[in-house]
């Protein structure tokens, strides 16, 4: 791939005066039902066909990174929760692990297992929203509500454990905020049994295998592996292009290496590999794999000796001078934290590499020449959460 192909359209070729007579500029968003938040996409359309697209982000910017510099390490957690509000567990887990690596804190296997359980439950809940809203973008409303129904049950478990349903502040530096309640294992198993036996097969029957759904998505928004890597697509988006890269396998943390699961991959069964369909399919399969991990983790938890989850939580988090770049596999892809410490109570600098942010950077490339309906399909298949893009 040559450099010129990777260069985005120049800034000033959008002058309305300079447009072709057939073209018009359509502002999609920031208030639009299909942009999953406050994303604005500027489309140059010729009728239904989009000649060029330019995403504008930042409507939800809260300067997370500046917040981090003004609070101490545990104080970052609630802000990290609010980045990817659909999968808050993953955010805090990443930050907790980054700081633990920098401060040299080792948590007990019990805490690790609890963290894995929470992260995987969160992955299921997050993919439920991702796949559900995606089907809604394509025009089917029913699967969305079916999936939200099941996400609700996961949130009930979270609420039971830590009292919060959306923003948990659960993962702490050196531990977690609350131990799992008694009977959690059984409730989680009930949920998973129903999820495996009913939700997923029903979802596939109802919508994923639907001919219209496949026709709408297979072959749309095809992202080649090279393009995906160059634009740093990660997680399900990259695996949709057939690249078996999953941090839980490649750079395991929290003991993920000891679980038996498959990395879900796009198969290109109905069209070219890396299409919107594949990215969505990866999420569906990943839900199933998460359920597998959860079963193993719950088994392990029963045999394991309970330790105090606050055992390693320091009274005051002391982080030596240094810096670390830590990545974890959040539901939306690689979530990276670059933490620089100068030895004081507050982090000196925290930079977040948000998977949605980088996924958005490839958008203009994939969107060229699509129809308006495909733009919606593309945005949905990248599974963006604006809270994380804008931070």
């Amino acid at each position: 791939m040559s450099a010129s192909e990777l260069t985005p359209p120049a800034a000033n070729d959008w002058d309305p005066e300079a447009l072709d007579t057939d073209e018009m500029i359509l502002q999609m968003g920031p208030q639009h039902p299909a942009t999953h938040g406050v994303l604005r996409v500027e489309l140059r359309t010729d009728g239904e066909v989009v000649n060029a697209a330019r995403p504008h982000i930042g409507y939800l910017h809260r300067c997370f990174e500046k917040h981090c510099e003004n609070v101490d390490y545990p104080g970052v957690m609630p802000y990290a929760d609010r980045m990817d509000y659909v999968a808050a567990m993953g955010n805090t887990l990443g930050f907790a692990l980054a700081v633990e690596k920098l401060a040299g804190i080792e948590v007990s296997p019990y805490v690790n297992t609890v963290r894995v359980i929470m992260a995987e439950l969160q992955r299921i809940a997050s993919h439920c929203v991702a796949v559900g809203t995606y089907t809604m973008d394509i025009g089917a409303f029913t699967p969305f509500l079916h999936l939200l129904r099941d996400r609700e049950k996961v949130l009930d478990l979270f609420e039971w454990t830590c009292g919060a349903r959306l923003l948990y502040n659960y993962n702490w530096v050196g531990g977690v905020s609350h131990d799992l309640p008694d009977g959690f294992g059984r409730a989680a198993r009930d949920l998973l049994r129903e999820f495996d036996a009913i939700t997923i097969p029903e979802l596939i029957d109802l919508i994923i295998g639907n001919k219209i759904f496949i026709k709408r998505l297979a072959g749309v928004g095809v992202c080649s592996p090279e393009l995906g890597i160059s634009y740093d697509l990660t997680g399900p988006n990259l695996r949709g292009s057939g690249i078996p890269r999953d941090l839980r396998k490649d750079a395991p943390y929290c003991g993920y290496e000891s679980y038996d699961f498959e990395v879900a991959l796009g198969e290109g069964r109905f069209g070219p590999l890396g299409s919107c369909f594949d990215r969505n399919w990866v999420r569906v399969v990943e839900m199933r794999e998460s359920s597998r991990i959860l079963h193993q983790a719950l088994d392990r938890l029963e045999k394991m000796e309970r330790t105090d989850v606050h055992e390693k939580v320091p009274k005051r988090v002391k982080v030596p001078k240094g810096e670390v770049y830590f990545r974890s596999e959040a539901p939306r892809g690689q979530l990276g934290y670059y933490v620089v410490s100068d030895g004081k109570a507050n982090p000196y600098r925290v930079k977040v590499k948000s998977p949605c942010f980088t996924a958005m950077s490839v958008f203009h490339h994939l969107a060229r020449g699509m129809m308006i309906a495909d733009i919606v399909a593309l945005i949905g298949s990248l599974d963006i959460v604006l809270g994380e893009i804008d931070r």
Binding site: A3, L6, T7, P8, P9, A10, A11, I57, G58, H61, C63, E65, K66, K101, L102, E226, L227, I229, S230, Y231, D232, I243, R245, D250, G322, E323, V324, Y325, R327, Q334, G336, Y338, V340, Y348, R349, K351, K353, F357, T358, M360, S361, V362, H365, D390, R391
Partner: protein
């Protein structure tokens, strides 16, 4: 490849352009001469042994306390082929910071560099579309610099409401107490 081997490879190719290295850090990095970063980056990507085909993260960091005061741009690289990671750093002065762009090498650098410009004011020379990305276009200043101070006003709006509310409360006004407090936060601006 191990970080040490990567460093040696870079030294072998670029010699004294590689200024220093820290292999003991949690994420090992090498500091590269600012003007050489584009060449180093493209070498890192194209060399079959290194094959850093992925730019994981590009971050700016401000060090006003160092001698001389400087800003850093940090490139965290990952190779999907060999699955090793490495970090490159470049230093740039705090006045008129400028670094060559790498967006032609990794597409994602486009957005990252725009964010870096947005937050630190580091100009990436040769960047095709260097605009603010997260902040509004008419924002003034670069908030992640360490000497940043929150502005009093933005577009005529008072953006420090707590201080203003404290002022009004001290002046004896009851804020948010009555059934309706329709005075907008910037009402006093209009009165002035």
């Amino acid at each position: 490849m191990e970080p040490k081997a990567i460093h040696e490879k870079l030294i072998g190719e670029f010699g004294d352009k590689v200024l220093s290295v820290d292999l003991e850090a949690a994420s090992p990095f090498a500091v590269v001469a600012t003007e050489a970063i584009a060449d180093v980056a493209s070498f890192c990507k194209d060399d079959p042994d290194l094959a850093f085909d992925n730019l994981m993260c590009l971050s700016g960091v401000d060090y006003p306390g160092e001698d001389p005061p400087r800003m850093e741009v940090v490139y965290h690289l990952l190779s999907y082929t060999h699955h090793h990671t490495f970090a490159l750093k470049v230093h740039t002065p705090r006045e008129n910071p400028a670094v060559p762009t790498v967006e032609g090498i990794w597409g994602v650098a486009n957005f990252h560099e725009r964010e870096c410009w947005d937050m630190f004011g580091i100009a990436f020379t040769g960047h095709s579309d260097l605009r603010r990305i997260l902040l509004p276009d008419d924002w003034e200043g670069f908030p992640l610099r360490k000497d940043w101070e929150d502005p009093e006003y933005y577009n005529g709006m008072h953006v420090k409401p707590t201080e203003q509310m404290a002022e009004r409360a001290l002046a004896g006004e009851q804020i948010g107490v009555g059934p309706f407090d329709f005075d907008p936060p910037n009402a006093h601006v209009e009165k002035e």
